[in-house]
């Protein structure tokens, strides 16, 4: 481990900026939110800020992306398909462990199944990842219940832990080590590991005050979701609270459903667009001819929680699909963020009443 002095952080970011486009958390004055964003002004990087309201998945899997272009001339019947170059070196600085875990889920899903998603791969190829230990949890968090925090275990190039004044730095890759060497960071003594452990333990223990009640039931919910032993009434109850807004999907670090549509149909140059989609939308499963096999909202809602917690989906991510960031609970205009859904399932198991 190494020490990174506060004033060296600026140097580190500048050095990365020579090679990479820089992304990180910044406080947005207009919305008063912390946003994980492309930083045009590097001084805006704020590693002490709260968990950003958006996960960093948009960097690898944009909301809205042109994946190819084609020119078609109906008169000459000529077609020219043009691939889009998505390869761009990007540095993600200050990733919370939940978000890094989410990104690793996306990696396994997009790159590790039957087929490789070439568009995701292009974004992923040249990435530099710096994770940031959560020295205290935020009120919405429950990463300790989903084994995804408060500190990163793997997948980073550099991992930072704030000790109150400076950062402890750990390299997770060769290119991370190269950067440490280039910056000439001072090696930390043998006490560094114990210090880091103490900081993490302290963070974990402060979850007790708010993450005890429903959140510890996640593994039981996983069991029920996997085996299908959840009564239709529970899904109906959950479905009735869904506004079908799709916000939970959009702020989820692991939700990755997308739609593909061709745009600019009248022009000689047409774009094939890939956009985020959500299983909560009624049109999501609608086929040509208006046949929709999954029309009722509760049918669509259980799909999401199946994706987040069932064993069969966990096999694709090599861990649960929920990373405990709590964003869905924060944005849901109903009351069906993941922790609450776990509560509803718990109530069914224990037979306790609603309030």
């Amino acid at each position: 481990m190494y020490w990174l002095k506060k004033e060296q952080l600026e140097l580190l970011v500048k050095k990365l900026a020579e090679e990479y486009k820089i992304f990180g958390p910044r406080h947005d004055r207009v919305s008063d939110e912390v946003i994980f964003d492309h930083l045009t002004d590097l001084s805006e990087l704020d590693l002490q800020a709260a968990i950003p309201y958006n996960p960093p998945k948009f960097i690898l899997f944009p909301h809205f992306e042109e994946i190819l272009k084609y020119r078609y001339e109906p008169e000459t019947k000529e077609v020219r398909i043009e691939q889009i170059n998505l390869l761009e070196p990007k540095a993600l600085i200050g990733l919370r462990s939940c978000d890094l875990t989410g990104l690793l889920c996306l990696d396994r899903f997009f790159l590790g199944q039957e087929y490789v998603d070439e568009f995701y791969l292009a974004h992923r190829k040249k990435l530099f990842i710096i994770s940031n230990t959560c020295i205290r949890p935020f009120p919405q968090c429950f990463c300790v219940c989903t084994d995804s925090g408060p500190a990163a275990k793997d997948g980073f190039d550099l991992d930072l832990t704030f000790t109150g004044r400076d950062y402890l730095v750990e390299a997770g890759s060769k290119k991370g080590q190269v950067l440490i060497d280039e910056l000439g960071l001072a090696e930390a003594g043998p006490e560094a590991s114990a210090l880091k452990k103490k900081i993490i333990d302290n963070s974990v223990s402060s979850f007790d005050s708010f993450a005890l009640e429903n959140k510890a039931w996640i593994s039981r919910a996983t069991n029920r979701l996997t085996t299908g032993f959840i009564k239709p009434e529970v899904w109906e109850y959950i479905g009735n609270q869904c506004f079908e807004c799709g916000a939970c999907s959009f702020v989820c670090p692991t939700c990755s459903c997308f739609n593909i549509e061709d745009a600019n149909l009248e022009s000689s140059e047409t774009d094939r667009l890939r956009t985020w989609d959500s299983c909560s939308f009624e049109g999501y499963t609608k086929m040509a001819g208006d046949n929709n096999p999954r029309k009722p909202v509760e049918d669509r809602r259980n799909k999401r929680f199946f994706c987040k917690l069932s064993y069969s989906q966990s096999k694709k991510y090599l861990r649960p699909g929920c990373v405990g960031c709590g964003r869905c609970a924060r944005v849901c205009p109903g009351d069906i963020g993941l922790p609450n859904v776990v509560t509803y399932i718990r109530r069914e198991i224990t037979g306790e009443s609603g309030e």
Binding site: I67, L68, Y70, Y72, P74, K77, E78, V79, I81, Q83, F109, F110, Q113, E114, Y115, V116, D117, E118, F119, G228, S256, C257, F258, N259, I260, E261, D262, L265, E266, T270, R272, D277, C279, Y284, T285, K286, M287, A288, G289, N291, P293, R294, D299, K303, F306, C307, S310, S312, Q313
Partner: protein
């Protein structure tokens, strides 16, 4: 995976429509060849697979493959139902389309050798079964009884009449047809295809059934076949879902814990029953 069977994954390959045939009302077959000779050469399918077809300046859609893996012309048969298929129907020979695929698991072939085979189709449900029927008839000696039970709303709605005539010329291929309502000049059965299936003397042991058609027909036929004693794991069908990518990423085609594009589109009824979603 056999290198020759590598599908076209992300960027569509350009193909030329070489021939168009009207099949039934609003259903047309589009014969195509891939423009790049090496791709045309390497393009191989398994019966039951599907492709993603781009209609330029309209969009892309998933469509099952009706042609046999051996000695058959490449084509798709498409009903005009939405805006992309309507745009496809506007095309003429010489026009270009884009092809990705083939994707999906396909019907079993090696595993069912030696069995009796019953095909039950309703309406354009014959399209995805056509490939398997031809493939099986090309290897006729490897199978027991081979039977087609086919129903449609009217005689005009029966698909692939020419192909069926050719198949009937094959020795030991039994065919039974039905239409929903009586018609002048129709001497075959009248009524739903499940009723016809119920009446027929169908084999039961060492028998696999392939069923494809609209959901109502599908459920009714399965019921009859099960009553006769055909096991759930020996009844195969091919499912249809809204699809965007074809490669297991967009998730639109999820049914239960499976994705139709990579785990299907061919399922046994036993699998379908445990997926916990309607068909």
């Amino acid at each position: 995976m056999d290198k020759n069977l590598m599908p076209i994954v992300s960027i569509p390959e350009i193909a030329t429509i070489v021939d168009i045939r009207d099949e039934i009302e609003d259903v047309r077959s589009f014969y195509f060849t891939l423009d790049r000779p090496e791709i045309e050469q390497a393009f191989q399918i398994r019966s039951g697979q599907f492709i993603m077809c781009t209609v330029f300046r309209a969009g892309e859609f998933a469509v099952s493959l009706p042609f046999s893996p051996e000695n058959d012309r490449k084509h798709i048969s498409v009903r005009k139902v939405g805006k992309v298929t309507a745009a496809l129907h506007q095309l003429e020979p010489g026009d270009k389309i884009g092809i990705r695929g083939p994707f999906g698991n396909g019907f079993p072939f090696e595993e069912i050798k030696g069995s009796n085979i019953i095909y039950v189709a309703g309406g354009i449900g014959l399209i995805p079964l056509r490939s398997s029927i031809i493939h099986v008839l090309q290897h006729r000696q490897d199978f027991g009884r081979v039977i087609l039970v086919y129903g449609a709303k009217s005689s005009k709605e029966l698909m692939y009449k020419d192909s069926i005539k050719e198949w009937q010329a094959t020795e030991n291929f039994e065919t039974h047809f039905t239409i929903d309502r009586p018609e002048p000049g129709w001497s075959g059965e009248v009524g739903f295809v499940n009723h016809l299936a119920a009446k027929l003397d169908l084999p039961v042991s060492d028998t696999v059934a392939f069923v494809c058609g609209p959901p109502v027909m599908f459920n009714a036929v399965i019921k009859e076949l099960k009553l006769k004693g055909i096991k759930e794991q020996d009844i195969y069908s091919t499912l249809e879902r809204h699809m965007k990518c074809g490669i297991g990423k967009c998730q639109h085609c999820a049914i239960g814990r499976t994705l139709v594009c990579v785990d299907g589109p061919v399922y046994t009824y036993k699998q379908i029953r445990t997926l916990g979603e309607q068909i």
